[in-house]
């Protein structure tokens, strides 16, 4: 048993941390949030590709480094600390793993390899109005038309779907749930602002695609379940960074802010609340490790670990976020102060990839 990172991982985490500190501060996120554009920058995405960050968990045949999911998770944790806006979770993890697990080698080379280089972003559209968090509840249809397929239906809250070059979408065929890669600009996209200031889109599908855009896997629903587990684990990893930032910013604030002639951090009731936050962050860190290591595993222990991690994020992580606002007092509830940005990101992370109720129910089903 060894919880330490290896030398390469330490180097990677350090490089990413430096990048976040220098090139992708919270201020950068805020600017992009408030500007009209996509909410993130192609330039930076490409830079990430050049640095190799978009290839860490993928095999060499698509230009990756053949690492494990853990490596991607390490990057996300650092991103969480300064709210890096690039679509790492939405595209690299969700879109990327959908292609990796669902696509033929040919399809991976065609759709995944460009993303690894930072030249493309591939989102994932799976949720529908009536699906809640179950990816097998698909009403979008895919019917044979000529050599290809006609897709018809709606996908909601496709994270970064507004700007993605391609979107992997699920659709019901007469043989179950299939996965299709549709060009982003070929579908009707309704731009959405998300709670945390990032963006996404509802997609209205009514188009034909060639058979080469149907991912080769048979059971698309099963692939989606795996992919959403990667996504869920990714939210927790990013959430560790977010929670850690909220804790340290709150502790700093308690040590600076004066009221009644003393630092408010000297009030015992507030100290104990800060400790409660610390405890939740440590538990989150701990279960995150199990979750990201097991993400690559087959079987029930993967699901259990990831669901437990999601609960800790949604329960403990949100407690941390809410307490951070409370301890910041009045300035915590202004849009001006950064702590609110973290609060909102945490809320989004807790929801994406299945909320608390979903994961508790899933775990309960899988108890002996």
């Amino acid at each position: 048993m060894d919880f330490d990172l290896n030398e390469e991982q330490r180097m990677l985490a350090k490089t990413v941390a430096d990048f976040c500190k220098q090139d992708s501060t919270v201020e950068r996120f805020r600017k992009l949030r408030d500007a009209d554009g996509d909410g993130w920058e192609r330039r930076v995405w490409q830079q990430m590709g050049e640095l190799g960050w978009l290839g860490v968990p993928f095999p060499e045949r698509v230009g990756g480094f053949g690492g494990a999911f853990v490596d991607a998770a390490l990057i996300l944790e650092q991103f969480g600390r300064t709210l890096v806006p690039e679509p790492y979770l939405s595209c690299l993890v969700l879109g990327g793993y959908a292609l990796l697990l669902g696509g033929s080698e040919e399809q991976q080379r065609r759709f995944l390899a460009p993303m690894v280089e930072g030249r493309s972003a591939v989102a994932l559209g799976w949720a529908e109005r009536r699906s809640r968090f179950d990816p097998s509840r698909v009403e979008t249809s895919a019917t044979r038309r000529g050599d290809g397929w006609h897709l018809e239906g709606e996908k909601i809250f496709v994270l970064d779907g507004h700007a993605a070059d391609e979107v992997v979408v699920s659709a019901r065929t007469d043989q179950g749930v299939g996965l299709f890669v549709v060009p982003g600009d070929a579908v009707d996209r309704q731009l959405l602002r998300l709670l945390d200031g990032r963006r996404g889109a509802h997609l209205r599908l009514d188009l034909d695609v060639g058979d080469d855009r149907r991912l080769s896997v048979q059971d698309g629903a099963e692939v989606l379940r795996r992919v959403l587990d990667y996504g869920a684990a990714a939210t927790v990893a990013e959430g560790v960074g977010v929670a850690q930032s909220m804790l340290s910013r709150t502790v700093d604030y308690l040590g600076e802010r004066e009221q009644f002639g003393v630092k408010i951090g000297s009030f015992q009731a507030l100290q104990h609340r800060a400790v409660d936050m610390f405890v939740e962050v440590e538990l989150l860190r701990s279960i995150n490790m199990e979750s990201i290591v097991r993400a690559d595993e087959e079987g029930i222990e993967r699901e259990r670990a990831i669901s437990a991690a999601k609960l800790q994020l949604a329960d403990g992580g949100l407690q941390v976020a809410r307490q951070a606002i409370q301890l910041h007092g009045g300035i915590g509830v202004t849009d001006e102060h950064d702590i609110g940005l973290f609060f909102k990101r945490m809320h989004v992370l807790a929801t994406v990839g299945g909320d608390e109720a979903h994961h508790v129910a899933r775990y309960a089903k899988r108890m002996d």
């Binding site: 968090f133 602002r193 998300l194 609060f343 129910a361």
Partner: protein, 394 residues
């Protein structure tokens, strides 16, 4: 013990309910039904409708143009307004400075200010907190220097909610540095159109433009605008905090939050394809919140009954603030959870999510403030520990 409302009170409730449903303009009713946020102009529109009816100040005595409702009627009236989803009026004139002017003002001040508060002709905001004086209000530094015929005010105030719409601000200012810090504070009424007043609006966590910073640079304030005694402003401030607390604990707000949650539960499809309202776990969550609200409602009724007998609600009313604020947040949290993916939507145009859900995420975020404003819950707990439980000084 008799926990029912009297026949007269029930009749009053019916009268109020009927009037509200007729008096709310259709667009306003539609927004209320869709659980939308009301802007300040809409709030003032409703203010004027209530004014025309004579009900804009239910708690003011008739001599000042109030409705002169009994304590019980006031409670019923508030419940019915919340129930209908009517816009919440700005409290700064009606609930805060108005009663203070009645109690501490000169006849001239009463005549000058009260009618326009009632009519809505003049909108007020509150200048209490400062960047370094929040929970520790008494350490404020905005100062008013005596210049013979006027005060010269310099400093800044924060959380001056809706200052961008306000004609007047009531301020706590420092007029002396002698004695305890509470002793040198005075209560000033300042015209927002005075030279040297500058307002910088900012967004709340809910994305709404409610908060402002307000800056005072060599602002001249006539001496007539001093409310109550010079250096005696702290007593006025304390009198006010009590009002604010009961206000925030409002049962109707939680009730509305719960209604929103239940409506979402009925519309959202659950994991088994049925509405979430049929799911045993979500149903239990809704039930627990409603049960808890029931206890909170009875606690409020108790406070109302005390007031109805002409007593002042003691520091006990602090618990109404504590419980009401937390339940408000819980109702928001549950509504968000019920929304599933829709909770990710932030103030998008119509069509992104069901209309009814559109403002919920903003409300959820903004309502983190309920445990902070009007005397943070930590401050309330300090008060209860000291004044009610009599625990030793920290």
């Amino acid at each position: 013990m008799d926990l029912t409302f009297s026949a007269e009170d029930e009749a009053f409730r019916q009268e109020v309910r009927g009037w509200i449903s007729g008096a709310m303009p259709p667009e306003m009713r539609a927004k209320a039904a869709a659980n939308h946020h009301f802007s300040m102009p809409e709030i003032m529109q409703w203010h004027k409708i209530l004014y025309a009816k004579g009900w804009v100040a239910p708690h003011w005595p008739k001599e000042y143009g109030g409705a002169g409702f009994t304590a019980t009627q006031q409670f019923i009236f508030a419940e019915e307004l919340e129930r209908a989803g009517a816009p919440g009026l700005s409290p700064f004139g009606l609930v805060m400075v108005g009663p203070l002017i009645q109690r501490f003002g000169t006849d001239a001040q009463k005549a000058r200010f009260l009618p326009k508060i009632l009519s809505g002709e003049e909108v007020w905001c509150q200048g209490y907190s400062e960047p370094n004086a929040g929970s520790d209000l008494a350490s404020l530094t905005t100062k008013a220097e005596d210049q013979g015929d006027h005060f010269l005010v310099n400093g800044s105030k924060t959380w001056t909610t809706y200052a961008q719409y306000a004609d007047w601000i009531f301020c706590l200012v420092r007029t002396s540095h002698e004695g305890k810090k509470q002793a040198g504070i005075s209560f000033l009424l300042i015209d927002m159109k005075s030279e040297g007043v500058e307002v910088k609006p900012m967004l709340t966590l809910g994305g709404t433009p409610a908060f402002c910073d307000t800056f005072f640079t060599n602002v001249k304030v006539p001496k007539d605008n001093l409310l109550g005694p010079l250096h005696g402003g702290w007593n006025l401030a304390k009198a006010l905090l009590g009002h604010e607390r009961t206000l925030v604990g409002s049962v109707g707000i939680v009730e509305r939050g719960l209604r929103v949650a239940r409506r979402i539960a009925a519309a959202q499809v659950g994991p088994d394809g049925r509405p979430l309202a049929q799911d045993p776990l979500f149903r239990a969550k809704l039930a627990r919140l409603e049960m808890r609200l029931r206890a909170h409602r009875m606690a409020n009724y108790r406070a109302v009954a005390v007031q109805a007998k002409g007593h002042h609600p003691g520091p006990e009313s602090s618990i109404l603030k504590l419980v009401g604020s937390v339940l408000t947040q819980k109702a928001d949290e549950l509504a968000m959870e019920l929304m599933g993916h829709d909770q990710l939507s932030w103030l998008n145009d119509a069509g992104a999510v069901p209309e009814f859900e559109r403002w919920v995420p903003s409300q959820y975020c903004y309502d983190r403030a309920t445990t902070i404003y009007a005397g943070s819950n930590e401050i309330q707990k300090n008060i209860i520990a000291k004044l009610i439980l009599g625990l030793p000084k920290q």
